[in-house]
Amino acid sequence: MLSKSQARAFFFGGTAVTFLIFIGLTIYSLAPSNDQTNHHNITEQVIKGKHLWEANNCMGCHTIMGEGAYYAPELTKVIDRKGAPLVKAILQSPVPWAPNGRKMVAYEMTDEEADAMVEYFKWIGQLDLNGFERIVSPLAKDK
């Protein structure tokens, strides 16, 4: 039968090996040559958009790349679906946007902020998500 020291060796050995592989794969998949995100397109505005995304916890209702909450629509392809002007209007609206009864927070963003959000969404919209980009938004596929 398995002894305790063998069990311990299995634990430490398995952990060390898989951890090293994990680090290797991390380096591999973050290497610039494997970039699927158009990293060079991350402008100051996109970064500002990401700050706003976090500062307002948009992910607390919406998903992006399938991550977040399930209360409000997925936003990965929102610009393709709704168009930039409508997205800006929603972000700048002084009353909660609620086309189907479910309310969003009225953020009353400035022009500059709303533009940054749009740029952020445009960058997100171009990611290569290994096929998920077509499932998540059928409308985007049809375009």
Binding site: K4, A7, T18, S29, W53, N56, N57, C61, M65, P73
Partner: protein
């Protein structure tokens, strides 16, 4: 209970009960918002309620783990905690940081990154707090008479959990890289190092409750945590399928995360087998229910329901839907909520000296909360499958599909009421136990038996 300093655990458990109750309140706020009753929207919008709900969950579980460590480590190391005063300082500062974070969420002060919403300034305080905690626990363990495998595995889990908090504090310009490292915290916590903590608590409880020989239990503990890391580390890949990183993760994540249920299966078999093998005369039946229950429900919630959406072909459709929420509830409940409730149920009679181990209320608490949670999970699961079909297969608009699943949230709320009744009874029993007493120190407890293998 043999050491007076173990009484510190009581106050951690009391904080647990308080935060857990609040977590449920915010769950109801979200549940009602989903069926159109969003009267609180102006003060507590959905994103606030959600951040509070999930952060309170994480904080009360961590508080429970800390309480468990303050209870278990002295007993395993056979000495008093190195400093009771510092342990109280740690408790109070933990509560203050938690309250500050939760309050901030009501005023748009947060970092909208799912599960890691605590602002970075407060993160530093969290780090200091956890270092203090680890200092007390490590010093106690290594100054103690013995360092058992149970204690070592548990402490390893706690130390790694602290280390893994750090990648979540780094800023990245790219949403993709941000997500990538967010999973180092979230996934490697719940499907990695927290399982060590759970395994440690489970082993401790099984040794105490079944009387099976420590050597046998601890050998299997190594096998279980070995399986956990073997599958769980590379299993992180199941979050990397569709977030804009290389396709290699579809294979690596798919294969290794599909193996993750093995660790939970091993835990369930281990608990049931040790129970069968052991003596069935321990009077604390409730602790036994929660312990065996945690091992079994974690296999269903994390293992089976996790497996249900972990293959890339399935996850392509279920990723980021209510199917995920269904699994999140049952996995957290079975694995971590139940194990914390198990150690509390075990420790309370020993700390207070009151033998309320087999009360009707306690049994009702167990069954109502478990039946209610199962009902909630089934309702969320049905809602999730309908959502996936309508939205991702038929291409319906998000809100049109949401209207269709509204009715399942009514069902969910009914079950949530049953669940909340169970938890209310649990907390009622907790209060009935009263405070720890020094007389409890003199009570004779279970001896560690040595059975023939």
């Amino acid at each position: 209970m043999k050491y007076k300093s173990q009484q510190v655990a009581y106050w951690f458990f009391a904080l647990c009960m308080l935060l857990f109750a609040l977590q449920i309140v915010y769950g109801f706020i979200m549940g009602f918002a989903r069926i159109g009753m969003d009267g609180l929207h102006d003060w507590i919008p959905f994103n606030t309620a959600r951040a509070v709900h999930t952060n309170l969950l994480v904080i009360w579980l961590l508080t429970g783990f800390m309480g468990a460590a303050y209870y278990i480590i002295p007993e395993e190391a056979q000495r008093e905690l190195v400093s009771v005063k510092l342990a109280y300082v740690q408790l109070i500062s933990l509560a203050l940081v938690g309250v500050a974070a939760i309050t901030g969420y009501h005023f748009n002060i947060w970092e909208g990154r799912k599960f890691l919403e605590i602002p970075r300034e407060l993160d530093y305080l969290v780090v200091v707090n956890v270092l203090l905690f680890l200092g007390i626990i490590l010093a106690t363990l290594f100054k103690g008479k013995r360092q058992t495998t149970t204690a070592l595995v548990m402490v390893m889990g706690l130390v790694f959990a602290a280390l893994l908090y750090l990648p979540g504090m780094i800023w990245f310009d790219s949403q993709v890289t941000d997500s990538f490292f967010r999973w180092w915290v979230v996934h490697l916590w719940v499907e990695g190092v927290w399982e060590l903590i759970m395994g440690g608590i489970l082993a401790f409880l099984l040794i105490k409750l079944t009387g099976v020989d420590r050597e046998v239990i601890e050998k299997w503990l190594y096998v279980i945590v070995g399986l956990t890391f073997l599958s769980g580390i590379l299993g992180t890949g199941h979050h990397y399928y569709y977030i804009g990183v290389n396709k290699i993760w579809l294979i690596v994540g798919g294969v290794f995360s599909a193996l993750e249920p093995l660790a939970f299966l091993a835990m369930a078999l281990f608990a049931v087998y040790m129970y069968r093998k052991g003596e069935k005369n321990h009077p604390n039946k409730l602790a036994l229910f929660w312990t065996i229950g945690a091992a079994i429900v974690s296999f269903v919630g994390a293992g089976l329901l996790g497996f249900a959406h972990t293959l890339p072909q399935t996850n392509l459709y279920t990723h980021g839907t209510l199917v995920t929420a269904m699994h999140g509830h049952y996995a957290f409940w079975g694995a971590y909520a139940m194990i914390v409730l198990a150690i509390i149920s075990y420790a309370m009679p020993n700390m207070t000296g009151r033998k309320r181990y087999d009360k009707l209320n306690g049994h009702l608490a167990f069954w109502l909360s478990n039946i209610g949670m199962l009902g909630m999970v089934v309702a969320l699961g049905v809602a999730g499958v309908v959502q996936v079909y309508l939205e991702r297969r038929l291409g319906m608009d998000f809100m049109v599909a949401q209207e269709e699943v509204k009715i399942h949230f009514v069902v969910m709320l009914i079950n949530a009421t049953v669940f909340a009744t169970g938890i209310t009874l649990y907390i009622y029993e907790f209060i009935k136990f009263g405070r720890p007493t020094d007389e409890a120190l003199e009570m004779k407890e279970e001896e560690e038996h040595i059975l023939v293998k």
